[in-house]
């Protein structure tokens, strides 16, 4: 359908529109007009993504003289694929109504691992080895050598891409990662470098958060995006965590050992170069004297991750004299590694600020703050000079330099925590040094400054006034929408007692109580016998899930559950989890029905939809609090209290309930869908906890459903399923009949 919002004609690919989608578009349009940032919460299952896409593309179409670029950030690659396929739908619709004028170029961008089509490279196991394998074939020095010696392998796709030079462009259209690979194969061009190049020209770019928030990646990929861009962070309820992670580093014993090996290898290389090609090292020295950390214009294939510090904080100065010479720099690194090793020997937990740490490095290892700051760029330069292409081997020394640069650059908002062992297993020594960032606003600040509109949106941003404080920005629009419903398509319940009327909870003192475990198992058993198709269960942690599933197995409860449905489980191995999910969907598709055990805050809870028959019921076992004994969390809470006056308890509850809401929100995707949600913990019945849930869940939570036991919940579920499913069942029955008539 086509309609007008003020001066913009909006092209919306469906015949109908929800009222809240329209309201959402209106607010968004105002924010774009004001060229300001905005914060929008809209329940899952109301078509947020398509509303966003269709408004922003229509807005761009209505202003052809001043085209805005649209940068859409997703949490995960599979969300990227989903977004792009929605965009495809929209684009087809716009082409139908506007003709060629609506043509845009939209593409997704990911790492080499997901885009490479060279069979020898892509077979490598992880991202780093794929990157390294690619560099081995495409680095400028390798190609120079290959020009003389044809026996040195190169990548034909990259060579073809380079040869076609300016002709290598993507025709307008919407490209998912798979489409990019297919196009690359067709043309014989490298899809990764093609996409990297086209990002600058595209109208719509879809990529991961990290490409904007992590300065290392943003520095090479998002550097040249124009100011007239709209940046959208979708599913942004965890954006503060991503920002913090982007600026945190941790160093373990293995890292130090690896770094020592790396330093030895580099010193060998230096000796070799001294013997064969001393001019090269001298050239590097001269370049550094002139103040250029890097060789001016690097070929795309040589580009490496950029500086981990934020662009505004990087010193525009020459590299200090005492690390200009390669040998000197290596000895500085050696001393730094030695110093950190010494710090890791500690018996007690230590916590200090960056200033104190830098001072202690200076006195004990003789490395001053400026040297620390330049570590990362200096290392980068050295590795290019030494022509090292197996970068995956050098991750450890990179981590050390990463740490050095950050600790040398920032004086507040960070702390350094050294733990000699894991809190839960004090007998196993596992020392770790962590540089953790507490201030989420640091990483996102350059994004707010550089782009004219930043949209932060999700299904759960409650309480909505907390985010501007955490991220330190002033939105021009900040709204939370509720869901308009003609019928109850969600049915939330709070279960506080098991079938024996004893309270259930994952609170510390009740957590390993066999009675609670049994009650949880009984609850699931009741539900699998009542609810059709798919059921999703979320637990508070992997260890809790493993424990409870094992205990269900031993007591035979699992066997009874399996008589009704197949059981799949999330593990920490992504490959296995992905296959389990795929099978889970197959089981739901074929009518067998299945249960999926998953972990709140895990990867599945973060990005996988369990809509329609893939999830008729979701059970949240317990309240997913963070691991409160973690030193990092404690340090962050302290920082939040001191700088933002946010109480520890409030933040923890807020964080736990946004995760719980996120988990249960997975079951509903549109209003034709329906799903039940069970919060199984007695703590949800308390008002201070419950009130932190988003409004669209609270408005469906009836008073009668606040304090249920297993048998009552089962009764409600049975009735609910009957009512909700009746329409569908009638439809199917009629069809069955007609088929039966046909076949006789």
């Amino acid at each position: 359908m086509k309609f007008q919002i003020e001066d913009v004609t909006v092209y919306f690919p469906y015949d109908n529109i929800y009222p809240e989608q329209y309201a959402y578009m209106v607010e968004l349009k105002r924010a774009l007009d004001a060229k300001g940032h905005c914060l929008l919460e809209m329940p899952t299952g109301t078509g947020k993504t398509i509303a966003l896409l269709s408004l922003i593309t229509s807005y761009a179409l209505s202003k052809p003289s001043n085209p805005i670029k649209f940068i859409y950030c997703t949490r995960t690659v599979h969300e990227m694929e989903k977004t792009l396929s929605e965009l495809k739908l929209l684009h087809n619709y716009q082409l139908q109504h506007l003709g060629p004028a609506a043509k845009i170029l939209a593409l997704g961008l990911s790492s080499r691992k997901n885009l490479c089509i060279n069979p020898t490279v892509v077979s490598a196991e992880n991202r780093d080895s794929v990157d390294a394998a690619c560099r081995k074939l495409t680095a400028s020095w390798v190609r120079e050598l290959a020009a003389e010696n044809p026996r040195i392998p190169t990548c034909s796709f990259f060579e073809n891409y380079e040869k076609s030079a300016s002709e290598a462009i993507l025709p307008p259209g919407v490209y998912t990662l798979q489409d990019l690979r297919a196009y690359g194969k067709l043309k014989g061009w490298c899809p990764y470098f093609l996409a990297r190049h086209m990002v600058q020209l595209a109208n719509v770019v879809v990529y991961s958060y990290q490409y904007l928030l992590d300065p290392k990646v943003a520095g090479i990929i998002s550097k040249e995006m124009q100011r007239e861009s709209v940046v959208v962070f979708d599913e942004a309820h965890n954006i503060d965590n991503v920002c913090i992670e982007a600026l945190s580093v941790s160093v373990r014993m293995q890292t130090l050992e690896g770094a020592t090996r790396n330093i030895n290898r580099m010193s060998q290389e230096i000796d070799r170069f001294k013997a064969t090609d001393a001019g090269r090292l001298r050239a590097e020295y001269n370049r550094l004297v002139e103040g250029l950390a890097l060789r001016g214009d690097l070929p795309a294939s040589d580009a490496w991750l950029a500086n981990p510090a934020l662009p505004n904080d990087i010193l525009k100065e020459a590299v200090p004299g005492n690390i200009r010479r390669a040998e000197h720099f290596l000895s500085v690194l050696r001393r730094l590694v030695q110093y950190i090793r010494g710090r890791l020997q500690t018996e007690n937990v230590e916590k200090e600020g960056p200033v104190a740490f830098v001072a202690s490095v200076n006195t004990q290892a003789g490395i001053d703050q400026k040297m620390l700051r330049f570590c990362y760029d200096r290392l980068h330069s050295l590795m290019l000079t030494l022509e090292i292409s197996d970068t995956d081997e050098f991750l450890h020394i990179q981590t050390i330099c990463d740490f050095a640069t950050l600790v040398g650059t920032y004086t507040r908002g960070f702390s350094i925590i050294i733990e000699p062992f894991d809190e839960r297993m004090p007998h196993i020594p596992d020392p770790v040094l962590q540089l953790c960032c507490h201030d989420a606003s640091l990483a996102i600040k350059p994004v707010f400054e550089r782009f004219q509109s930043v949209v932060i949106t999700s299904g759960t941003l409650s309480p909505i006034d907390l985010y501007p404080r955490l991220l330190n920005f002033n939105p021009v629009v900040s709204r939370s929408f509720t869901m308009s419903l003609t019928r109850d398509c969600i049915c939330p319940m709070v279960l506080t007692r098991g079938s024996d009327q004893l309270p259930v909870s994952t609170k510390y003192d009740l957590r390993s109580d066999p009675g609670v475990e049994k009650n949880y198992g009984k609850l699931l058993l009741e539900m699998v016998s009542v609810v059709p198709d798919g059921i999703v269960c979320f637990f508070v942690s992997y260890s809790y899930m493993d424990g409870i599933v094992n205990s269900w197995h031993e007591t035979g409860l699992l066997k009874e559950i399996m008589q009704h449905k197949l059981v799949f489980i999330e593990t920490q191995d992504v490959v296995e989890t992905t296959l389990a999910l795929d099978n889970y969907r197959k089981a739901c598709d074929c009518g067998r029905g299945a249960v999926f055990f998953s972990v709140a805050r895990g990867k599945v809870a973060e990005g996988i939809d369990f809509d329609r028959h893939y999830g008729r019921l979701v059970i949240m076992f317990g309240v997913p609090f963070q691991y409160t004994l973690s030193r990092i969390l404690l340090a962050r809470l302290e920082y939040l209290r001191d700088t933002f006056q946010i109480k520890e308890g409030d933040f923890l509850t807020f964080d736990a309930l946004r995760q719980a809401a996120q988990c249960v929100g997975r079951v509903i995707r549109s209003k034709a869908d329906y799903g039940m949600m069970i919060f199984a913990d007695k703590r949800y019945s308390r008002h201070d906890k419950r009130s932190k849930l988003p409004g669209w869940i609270l408005s469906h939570l009836r008073d009668a459903h606040l304090n249920l036991s297993t048998d009552m919940a089962a009764h409600i579920a049975r009735e609910g399923i009957k009512e909700e499913g009746s329409q569908m069942i009638i439809k199917v029955a009629v069809l069955d009949l007609s088929i039966a008539c046909d076949s006789t």
Binding site: T76, S110, N126, F568, V575, L579, V599
Partner: protein, 603 residues
């Protein structure tokens, strides 16, 4: 079928060079592998002697049209047209030709023909014929019907198959057979320990072995490698059980120590490499909207706190990397188990023979993986699914829901449920009658009794008197029998009246049931009668049905007395259906004769 009955067919026909040609009268003779045509006029140049091998198809005009033509197409492009004196003659030849072509097609040709089919004519390609023959071979009931009606001359080949178009089409796309699924039951490795000795017993059945082989490809491979060259079957399973026991004790170090001493045992204790490889292949097939592995590729932050404050447990177990291969998680097993159950029974092998089970599984797995690599179709399907998933359904105009067709394999279930219905209606009428009696006054009862007595007085008793006790016993027995049947019916799906009947009666009943169904279907589909052809067809069908009618009566009388009631209940609906058909036929005939007075041509 036809060729078994008739080896040679000889008919009068005219050979024509084209449809317009008046033709040469003569005699057409067909044998199994060739047909010959001799003109009546010996001086005529037309003389044919053609092998069926060279014939690739045949066309014919519809029954009831102007000419009874049969056109045989040769694969070089030539054709032979014959005109017959009447349609029955033509049809006999046509059916004969069809089977002859099919036979010769099976023997020689492999490429089925694809020539343009004229609208009026039906052409039977060899492939089509083959499919029919195959269907007949697979389904003995169908074969019986075919024999009875087509070869018995009641229905023509085309008529018979016309009602089974669906069957033919479905069969074309090879419908998978229904199979029993695997049990969703994890073989719990809980050993049975008798308290006295240190002995632990494991129970293995062929079903469990199949499950182990399907879930653990490494064990399967080990079995194929070791048994029987290196160890006996018993030794193999003992070793396997030992490994399982070690796992169940969760003592990683002990497992590693034992594995170091015994390399065969190590195979069971280590992680399954084949599964890992398989997973890597399968991961390329999954829906990209689920693919979490791709995220890993996009993750530029090598951090311990990836999961937003979720405590990581994997880092704590760094105790020794040499024990790593011996660690095995329960969740992994759980996922693998569910995947295998979901896939279902992939092999069709008798379970007793362990070796053949292992080999068959290995084969199917291999084939599956090879197939996956180059499946473009799957790719397309995946894309379609994604685009379907992305649409918001209730904002869109409704689309037809995807439904799978019902597959009722056993018509008996349907039949039985009809009987149950018949019973319940019967029960209703009985109770209704009772009510009627209840309202009878004593006076009326007395009157009727008096009437009876006076009647007996007048006529005398024809039967010998029976002892009232015996009579009571008989009546009681009968009543109980009937009511117990009524009670049991429908309660237990596995027991039906049919099963309680003697085998011969049962089969006869079923045969009659299916043949009546077939006949009725054709009978009713030939109404309203618009052509002479349909009239003859209806008459023929009616005759066939009236032949079955007395047979049903016979069955009813032949069974033992205690079953007679049930059999008559079974037969009743058939008879009713037949009666209805007869009544319709008679009414139609009367109508027709009344009208034919007005209109001389009968239509």
């Amino acid at each position: 079928m036809a060729d078994k009955q008739q080896q040679v067919v000889v008919k009068r026909a005219r050979h024509k060079s084209s449809v317009k040609d008046p033709g040469t009268p003569g005699v057409l003779k067909m044998t199994k592998d060739r047909f010959t045509f001799m003109a009546n006029d010996p001086s005529s140049p037309v003389k044919l002697n053609v092998e069926f091998r060279t014939i690739k198809g045949h066309k014919f005009t519809k029954d009831g049209t102007k000419q009874a033509l049969l056109n045989l197409t040769q694969d070089q492009g030539g054709n032979y047209i014959f005109e017959f004196e009447n349609f029955p003659d033509r049809n006999v030849c046509k059916d004969f030709v069809a089977s002859a072509i099919a036979l010769s097609g099976e023997a020689g040709r492999t490429v089925p023909e694809k020539s343009a089919v004229p609208i009026q004519d039906e052409q039977l390609s060899a492939a089509e014929m083959e499919r029919r023959i195959k269907l007949l071979q697979e389904d003995s009931d169908l074969q019986k019907l075919h024999k009875q009606f087509v070869i018995g001359g009641i229905l023509s080949e085309a008529e018979f198959w016309a009602t089974r178009k669906k069957l033919l089409e479905q069969n074309y796309s090879r419908r998978p057979k229904q199979r029993v699924a695997l049990k969703n039951d994890m073989w719990s490795t809980k050993p049975l320990a008798d308290g006295q000795s240190n002995r632990v017993t494991f129970n293995l059945t062929p079903e469990i072995i199949l499950q182990i082989f399907a879930e653990k490809p490494a064990v399967r491979q080990a079995y194929l490698n070791f048994v029987p060259n290196k160890m006996t079957e018993k030794e193999f399973w003992t070793k396997y059980s030992r490994a399982e026991y070690l796992h169940s004790t969760k003592n990683v170090i002990a497992a590693a120590a034992e594995a170091a001493e015994d390399e065969e045992l190590a195979v069971f204790l280590k992680q399954d490499d084949m599964l890992v490889n398989e997973a890597r292949k399968k991961i390329r097939q999954v829906d990209p909207t689920l693919d979490m592995e791709a995220d890993e590729g996009d993750d530029y932050m090598h951090l311990p706190i990836q999961d937003h404050g979720l405590p990581r447990n994997d880092n704590k177990d760094v105790l020794d990397s040499q024990y790593e291969p011996y660690r095995r998680s329960f969740s992994q097993h759980l996922n693998q188990h569910a995947a295998v159950v979901l896939q279902g029974r992939v092999i069709d092998v008798e379970l007793g023979d362990t070796r053949s089970v292992a080999e068959a599984l290995a084969r199917t797995k291999h084939a599956e993986l090879a197939k996956d690599a180059s499946d473009v179709y799957l790719d397309k399907e995946r894309l379609e699914r994604i685009s379907r998933m992305t649409e918001i359904e209730d904002l869109q105009a409704p689309r037809d829901p995807a439904v799978a067709p019902l597959s009722i394999k056993d018509p008996r279930d349907y039949f039985d449920s009809q009987q149950a219905n018949a019973f319940s209606t019967l029960g209703d009428t009985v109770s209704g009658a009772k009510q009627l009696k209840c309202s009878v006054s004593t006076r009326e009862a007395y009157c009727s009794l008096k009437e009876c007595i006076s009647e007996i007085k007048f006529q005398g008793l024809t039967e010998p008197t029976i002892n009232s006790e015996v009579a009571f016993k008989v009546l009681n027995g009968l009543a109980q029998n009937i009511s117990s049947n009524k009670y049991h019916l429908g309660r237990n799906p596995n027991e039906s009246i049919l099963d309680s009947l003697p085998k011969i009666t049962r089969e006869e009943l079923l045969l009659h049931w299916s043949s009546i169904q077939e006949l009725l279907k054709h009978f009713w589909s030939s109404y309203p009668i618009t052509t002479k052809y349909l009239l003859t067809k209806a008459t023929k069908l009616k005759d066939a049905m009236s032949q079955i009618y007395p047979k049903l009566q016979e069955i009813k009388e032949s069974v033992q007395s205690d079953l007679r009631h049930q059999v008559s209940l079974l037969v009743q609906p058939m008879l009713q259906a037949l009666d209805a058909a007869f009544a319709h036929y008679d009414a139609d005939v009367q109508n027709r004769s009344a009208r034919s007075g007005e209109r001389p041509n009968g239509f």
